[in-house]
Amino acid sequence: MFKTNSFRGGTHPPEDKSRTEHLPIENVPIPEKILIPLQQHIGAPAEPVVEKGAGVKTGQVIAKSNGFISIPAHATCSGTVTAVDLFTHPLGNRMLAIEIENDGKDEWEQKQSRALSIRSLKKDEMLKRIQEAGIAGMGGAAFPTHVKLSPPEDKPVDIILLNGAECEPCLTADHRLMLEQPDLIIQGMRIMMKILGVKTGIIGIERNKPDAIDTITERVRKVKSIRVLPLKVKYPQGAEKQLIKAATGREVPCGGLPMDVGCLVHNVGTALAVAEAVSVKKPLIERIVTVTGNGIAKPKNCRVRIGTSFRHIIEFCGGYTANASKLISGGPMMGIAQVTDAVPVIKGTSGILVLDRKQAFLRKENPCIGCARCVDVCPMNLVPNRIAAFVEYQKIDKARRLGLIDCIECGSCSYICPAKRNLVHYIKLGKAVWNKTQKKAQ
């Protein structure tokens, strides 16, 4: 049999990466004000340890982690705390955040120690450093990385996958990172493999990034335990379960986690953050963000401090074009439309996308004509049109029996629907309603 390195279903939205894929990462100057939300990860929000008026330095903990599934937040510039209050969060809602006025000095709390050899470090020490650095998955879901790296003993992990698929259209942040800092990414991967005692590491990269495939392959030539796996270009190739299927042939069971099939998946950006955290104790205070779209004057790949407002970054990229009409945190398939550009970049922000008026135009929903395209593209083998219809008619229980909860919300069904039905939106809605009834029942 031929090896496809892929999964069933999926779709092919226009990749649209040419604006930024050849542009080196640029450092965005630290803005006058930084806004650090206390919830940038899945789990308990961090607990503030500074008050209004306190002086802080770069890298200083300003909110401590609140339990095991939680991570601390750090100041990403030096200056004065001007507010601990509710601010608009890029995930919607208003949430608690700490505002810091930048003093322009960027004084670090602790000098960056020289790189330590990771050999001398014990597993627990490495995990501790990862948690202290406040690392959460940087591909978008933002699950605390140290939790992922502590699987229960009855779930042995034998493969670590690094996700360099970057299947979201428009985004090139991971691509540039793999080209510009491949050594740190590989070091981060080796640290994670060491923590779990894993002997096999696979770095999955979509074939539309041949330069990244070459660069990484070159670096891991002498490392027997790590190999690069070129993947078919197809959305959502970078979805955790689909990536595992493509790389190993293993299928994560319904409702299960990758560790159920002995796998762990981390984003390449996370690997880089892990390398920096473990070797030089650098907290996660910056990340790469692709700023792109027809609504941006000069699209760029930017290295920005966490907490920098979208507005500041967009100004750095030449500002909006005349017809900019829609602001999105993330990519066009799974990103979240923003009400205002005052929201800050958080640990999971992979891109800032601005669409023009024509792209932002919303088409009217029509009745489903049963063309079955959503069924054909669903990477989870669901029947999205029927699940969505059940949610629409408030038959959540029936929707659940068809796999409502198994949906990974990739948006392929809504993308392909010729009737322009917001299928994935109905499904998300159904999940929310289901969770609510579950909570009530408890």
């Binding site: 939205p13 829609k326 799974m334 923003q338 009745p367 029927r386």
Partner: protein, 348 residues
């Protein structure tokens, strides 16, 4: 002043394909067969198609106005219904026949259920079923005898030459004679003639392909229908599963039971190319609204249509079974969808 932005749920980009886009491609794919029909049967065909299409659109328009629903009569689906109704009547019918068919198809077949997307059965076939039930003579008299030297020119004593002008109809009668030779023992001449006709029917592949035979407007020209279907398949508007299993099943049954000399002596090619099978399998059974959405469901649907068509053709009292088989399978579609749910990713 802060900028204001559009807000919507993700995904923020959508495929450019839309319902009218799909529908008009289907209309386009049906046109070659229509042109072929005009060449074969004459310009009268053009009027029949025009009447059916105009009545379809007007009916849908008026229904939507009465029901106070958004008017979408020009989204292309009513045009398809109109064309298919016209393709399902003989060229010599009275002008009001396609009008009634289109009206009934749109009203009883589609609008009473809520319009496009909610109809359980193919509206054009509802129209056709209504016409065949109400005016059987109009619907089965194929007076136009196409070009000389073709099948319809065969004259056979004891077989009604006018009403039997479709190859399937002739086949049905010939088969009836040849399977019951003992009953006709005093009519050796009839048996001989029947055998001659059978041979000529089986030798008529080229005429069947080109449509130089008696039949309904749109069902005769197999080549042109397949050309249109190929375009739709290339555009991924119709899938291969339903037509493949539909046609395949009919061919299999025709070979197994369709012969006059026992099991396995039938001529599958004749059955595949004659009657409305190609039109039905590629353009009517594949109707998105009324066919299953699951992978296995589409296969079962195709096989089901094929079995019913074969049963009606070979053992039923009616020479053609495509339209009724599709209508019956349309009704089974929700059930098929329910029992053929795909295995979820990671499911057992």
């Amino acid at each position: 002043m802060d900028r204001s932005f559009y807000i919507s749920p993700s995904p923020h980009i959508k495929d450019s394909d839309s319902i009218p886009h799909i529908m008009y491609w289907v209309v386009g794919a049906l046109i070659p067969a229509g042109i072929g029909s005009v060449v074969i049967f004459g310009s009268r065909v053009l009027w029949i198609i025009a009447i059916a299409v105009v009545v379809s659109i007007m009916t849908e328009w008026i229904c939507q106005l009465i029901l106070k629903r958004p008017v979408r009569a020009l989204d292309g689906s009513a045009i398809i219904t109109g064309i298919l109704v016209a393709y399902n009547v003989p060229a010599e019918v009275s002008w009001w026949i396609p009008a009634v068919g289109a009206f009934v198809g749109i009203t009883l077949g589609k609008m009473v259920f809520g319009g496009l997307g909610y109809n359980p059965m193919n509206p054009a076939l509802i129209g056709r079923a209504f016409l065949t039930a109400s005016w059987p003579l109009q619907m089965t008299v194929f007076q136009t005898l196409p070009a000389n030297g073709t099948l319809s020119g065969i004259d056979l004593e004891g077989i009604d030459a006018i009403s039997s002008a479709t190859p399937l109809n002739m086949f049905s009668q010939v088969r009836e004679i040849l399977l019951n030779v003992s009953q006709y023992s005093d009519r050796i001449d009839l048996i001989t003639q029947a055998q001659v006709v059978e041979t000529r029917l089986y030798d008529s592949t080229m005429n069947l392909l080109l449509g130089k035979i008696g039949g309904c407007i749109g069902e005769t020209s197999v080549v042109l229908l397949l050309f249109g279907a190929a375009i739709l398949m290339y555009k991924r508007i119709i899938g291969w599963k339903i037509p493949f299993f539909f046609v395949g099943t009919v061919a299999f049954f025709a070979w197994l039971f369709g012969g006059t000399r026992g099991i396995g002596t039938g001529n599958p090619l004749f059955h595949v190319l004659s009657g409305g099978l190609i039109l039905g399998a590629f353009f009517m059974a594949t109707d998105m609204v009324t066919s299953p959405v699951t992978f296995r469901g589409r296969i079962f649907f195709g096989i089901g249509c094929g079995v019913l068509t074969s049963v009606i053709r070979l053992w039923g009292g009616y020479p053609e079974g495509v339209s009724y088989s599709i209508l019956l399978m349309n009704l089974a579609t929700p059930l098929i969808d329910r029992v053929t749910l795909p295995k979820k990713f990671g499911g057992k």
